[in-house]
């Protein structure tokens, strides 16, 4: 059948689209219908099933901070996913508590998604509540003042704009907080 498509442009178009749409539809439209956790916000009240907690929608302030995160391209260097890799859970844990593995239901309110592809800086999937506002202020002004050897750019114009800075920090403090993963609840403001 395909032998004839090099003589008929219309036959070719039909075949090329069919080939494309088999895989195209099965891998994009079907998966969210099969796996409901892609669209159902995280909620767990039973400690025996892992960390408890509930995913809530972002507030207006957090959304404004998120827009800055998107605009400044933070996501080119910071991923937001604790993968199913042992080292990820240990490295992105806190004070001996491993980071819970990221699950699709924690990201239901995320658009654009910020999973990322490249880790030039550390993963931020559980960074919420690790550092306080003063730490972030100093760090954004010049990352190397706090982390010697860092290659992160300085962002003085964010720190100098209190509205932007407050919003961005508010967003960062939400990251990974749907799951109450630190038993002592020792989260920073």
């Amino acid at each position: 059948m395909l032998g004839k498509t090099d003589k008929s442009a219309i036959g070719f178009v039909v075949a090329a689209l069919i080939f494309f749409f088999i895989g195209g539809l099965l891998t994009t439209v079907v998966p969210p219908m099969v796996d409901k956790s892609w669209s159902k916000p995280f909620e767990n009240n039973d400690p025996s099933k892992g960390p408890t907690g509930k995913l809530r929608p972002y507030t207006e302030l957090e959304l404004k901070g998120r827009a800055i995160y998107v605009k400044e391209g933070c996501w080119y260097c910071h991923t937001q996913q604790t993968r199913t890799i042992y080292a990820d859970t240990i490295r992105y844990g806190w004070k001996g508590v491993p980071s819970p593995i990221s699950t699709p239901d924690e990201f239901v309110y995320d658009t654009p998604h910020m999973f990322g592809t490249k880790r030039t800086g550390p993963d931020l999937s559980r960074v919420g509540g690790k550092y306080d506002t003063q730490w972030h202020r100093t760090h954004f002004r010049n990352p190397r003042d706090l982390v010697k050897g860092s290659v992160m750019p300085p962002f003085p114009w964010i720190v100098d704009n209190p509205d932007d800075f407050t919003a961005l920090v508010a967003y960062i403090q939400t990251l990974g907080r749907a799951k109450n993963w630190r038993p002592d609840n020792d989260y920073e403001k």
Partner: protein
Amino acid sequence: MAEAVQPGSTGGKVSEALRPAESIHHDTTAKWFLISSISYFFVVGIIALTIAAKFVWPQLLGSVQYLTYGRLRPLHVNGMLFGWLLPADMGLAYYLVPRLCGVKLWNEKLGVATAILWNIIVLGAVVMLPLGMNKGWEYAELPMPLVVLVVVAWVMFGINIFATIGQRKYEQMYVSLWYIMGCILWTAFVYVTGNVAVYFTTGTNQANLNWMYVHNAVGLIFTPIGLAIAYYFIPRASGAPLFSHKLSMVGFWSLAFVYVWTGAHHMLHGPISQWLQTIAITFSLMLLIPVWTVVYNFFATMKGQWHLLGANIPLKFTMSGVVFYLLTCFQGPMHSLRTVNAIVSKTDWIPGHAHMALLGCFSFFAIAGAHYVIPRMFHTELHSEALANWCFWLFMIGGLGFFVTLWLGGFWQGWQWNNPSIPFIDTVVALKPVWTVRFFSGVLMFGGITTFLYNMMATVLGSPKTGIAKAAA
């Protein structure tokens, strides 16, 4: 298998398709597309060098918010993809489709309008991306108004190419035509998925669409149009018929079927269903079929013609591109395996891999095409063969320096990450020598871009050979 086929195809009549019939072609559209894309290659090359330098000197331009890494990286990626590579490939398509069909381009005015619109899009991106107007999806950063213009321009391109093919003189269509038609059709859906459909989804669902787009931007846009160019220029530049028509069909239809399934391999070990990851891995391995059939076909075509490689610039670029294609498409399936992925994913290996595909392979094809068609379109000789050789070696040495150090560095980085007792910042500091080598490799590649631009412009403007070029020769 070893049927000897004319470059045109099996049919004797079709072989005329590759015979010169220069007189009927105006090539205005092809000229516009190629010259503007080569100019953007140079401009965006400066951006590329700047962001590579920022890894070595992180304070560089640090107080200017429009020039931070986060603002310039999307400009680098979109500038190279949509400012240089895609319009260069489109320009070459405007050149070779009419020749393979034995007729004039369907509508030269529509073509020129497409070229103008394309330049508006690129200039818009150059202004809007540094201002931070970034949609937030990789490869799909361009703001919505520009997305609409891209779609319009793509439809204009598609109409012109399909209408030209519709009135072709030869019934049988040569492989390059299939790949160009495939590219036009699939791009339309892939681009709309990545830039529009994502708005109707969130989280993991959206990421899945995003990776389907990102992966197929390379696999179903740049791969087919790049292979179309290679399929045209390898027989053309070497003067040998294409080894096998049948193999080229196997390569094309397996690409059409297999590629689209693999998007989820960008999220291996990530928050996406395991079964979807397994599907993506399986199909990623199957990608070896279209790749190896195509590469075998190219190498078999070159059999007995390898002596031409030294003196033939387009052939040198194309065949090096084929080798990089083989390598990059071996890496791809291999780092889709869960075990390998656990080491290299998210590391500097990834930019090494991506650059070998888009620079080492597809840009080499486009550069080869430009060296071949620009002198012919302007009815002149290439300004300087010596400069073209310099261009090749600057790209080759710079490219290898870039790819190899990032692979080694990426593996090293991944191993360090997988040992949680090493603080993260130590893994950053460890990579600094790698980033320094990457920057200086970038300087060499930028030398290649500059030489390329100069040689092409001098060819177009027909300026007399300079003393420098003669001395180098």
